[in-house]
Symmetry: D2
Subunit: 237 residues, 4 copies
């Protein structure tokens, strides 16, 4: 299994709090804990050739993990189209936190993907509402995050195929924090935690969920790109 961890990794991540928490970037943090489970993980960032996601890289990616926030519009439409087509063929994709407004997520959802937010050092408790879902394996009833950016409803997403986690925020909001979809032959997981100024991806419970999600999203088969087909008559039964 080959995982590619993509991060916009722009200036605001290379200084200040985010730099302190993730000296090598969020992408390397995630790749690192994935590798410890034996998963082959590489990283890609926006500044690289073709936004870091050439055909060759995508063709060798089983699951793509996406972290982006301020530079969504800097990802070219061509890159988005390549990603989407690869998802249709079976590549899994995991969108983290502010990736809800990324181009590929909005493209795959078909909605505005807007939500409410507040940066106020609020605590969050993530509740498992689908305890036998593979992504919730060994997670237990809930996870506590001491500080997280609040994300609140109404979250404008299509009806989730599966709702796995609901977030409780101390300030009074709830959020559909872990949701799955299928698009074409590819599996999609959106997971809310991960604001860049808190050490969310160092939390072992969060790591477990992302590892579970990778294992859940990995395709059994890569299919040809779906296309309309003029179908010959079937032999009569």
């Amino acid at each position: 299994m080959n995982v590619t961890v993509w991060n916009e990794y722009s200036d605001y991540q290379k200084s200040g709090k985010t730099k302190e928490i993730y000296p090598d970037g969020i992408h390397n943090e995630i790749a690192s804990f994935l590798r410890q489970t034996g998963i082959k993980a590489r990283t890609a960032v926006l500044d690289e050739n073709e936004d870091g996601l050439t055909d060759e890289i995508l063709n060798n990616t089983d699951v793509l993990i996406w972290w982006g926030h301020r530079l969504h519009d800097s990802v070219s439409d061509r890159t988005v189209e390549r990603i989407v087509q690869r998802v249709y063929m079976g590549m899994g994709i995991i969108f983290l936190h502010s990736a809800h407004m990324s181009k590929p997520f909005k493209r795959l959802m078909g909605t505005s993907c807007t939500l409410k937010y507040r940066e106020a050092d609020e605590s969050e408790r993530l509740w498992t509402v689908n305890p036998i879902h593979p992504i919730a394996k060994d997670v237990g009833e809930y996870i506590e995050l001491e500080k997280e950016e609040m994300y609140g409803e109404f979250f404008d997403i299509p009806k989730p195929e599966e709702l796995v986690f609901i977030g409780w925020f101390k300030g009074g909001e709830i959020f559909r924090s872990g949701v799955t979809y299928t698009r074409g032959y590819g599996k999609i997981f959106y997971f809310q935690p991960g604001h860049e100024t808190y050490p969310i991806y160092k939390n072992t419970a969060i790591q477990k969920i992302i590892i579970n999600a990778v294992n859940w999203a990995v395709p059994k088969t890569i299919f040809p790109l779906p296309e309309c087909k003029n179908s010959k008559p079937l032999e009569k039964l």
Copy 2:
């Protein structure tokens, strides 16, 4: 309630079989049977200003019905964006037959929307599998169509929120023929029947379904366009 019936209405519809069946075009046929139930229906075609769908028209449309086949790519991306935003605000939209490959449908679904097809004068029987759905009201167990283009699976759509009709084709295929979705605050119905060389929209049972779908899709409220909002702290409970 204001319904706009859109049709690409290009040359191939203005001659031959389609012209014979629908002398004034598919759009006028549909608008006509809608009007007989007291619904205010107007028509719009591709050749008109801004693809027939100006802001003014869309702002006065509660439900948009879409018929397109060969000229999907001639609809401008700007028009598609206007339609999609209006759906997000609450406008209902009904996609008929080959509109499965239209730009707005693919944009709202987030999938390739591809399928199998065969033009072979095959009969179809449409089965109701959700008998209490408003769109199935008074439709009965099934509808028979003497001749229809075959549409077959795998139909690459997101998991339907509601599956209302399944089509049986004499040649041996089945198809998820009537499916609903929500995107933003807008309701969506895809309905498979309606090849341009058969008098499908003259069938009163098909008309009943489209009328039901219009009544189901009409918004109770038009909402502001969804956007991300920085949310103030809630008052403490």
Copy 3:
């Protein structure tokens, strides 16, 4: 439309706090605010003939509202079967609060319907996560309840067809508080608020939701009881 509001209405409701809040019982409180909207509402209680729900009453009920807590087992299996069959034929049914452990709810869900609870005067905020659902009409983003019994996950229910409300509890829990199902031709709404020692059903926002739910659950048609049918060959198409 005829609504029957059922309450076990046993001794613990006829004294103490519940008596103070609802001098005539929870059932009469609910029937009363329904009547103010023009809905014909009657009440029924456990002590009456056949648990208050004779065939005649059920045959004249479009929507049944159920409140029970300590006497679930006192409802006879025969009554449960009559209710369930009437739901299969199209009667709507709304289960309130502790009715999650009632016999008819468990029978219709097929799960254990268990959950976590805590009586600790905690505040609740109910969030709308499906703003265009008819049951959420005019409810707004959230409702605040100053004090409510906490109900928490894991709530062992089948995957909801529609998730309309999620509850936030001050103590740290969340709950899938408003969920819908279909069984046979009947529509079902489970709604969490309503502990008997708080004046929940006097809250106008809660009343609005219950009124909305009644209007949503009312059958368009009462069908014959579903049965297996030996089907004659269809005429050939």
Copy 4:
């Protein structure tokens, strides 16, 4: 993994066509092809102690396969309750063909589970509509059955969590032939093919689906029986 294959295995199966096709009974046929894949499979029949399903057997069963037709009512309510409780704890269960009217299936679904049927030697073609579902692995676009009993809609089941297969029948009907559910911590698959007078379970494609379903339904964990819990206050975040 331990699979138990249950069959009512009454007189009508011990003579005539069924005896010819399955000399040792449908249960042994199924157990046999499961064993060839390395799965540990035992059988159980109605005439045995406690309907063949003692606590000891159920406690050592990961997935239960159920075939029944004419003797549904001979299964005791106590046995049904034991099965249902085991499903709530995580045991997978697969209902085949006429098991749609079995007591455990109706108990877990909460609906009447009725349908239309016709015994007329009609051919069936089973279409995959969820090609990446584990139960559809390596099944391909469709399976052909030369002769099968027709099962038709309206099939009174709850909305499937996942619709995997749709059946096409030569006589003109369609059927939701492969559907999944969760109840408690247990996974459920209903699969329509398997009338006792046709050699359906000798078909290798059908065998593959049943093997896939067993692998899909096997629990990762057996949980305690769900119960309502008085929950202590959470530590403050």
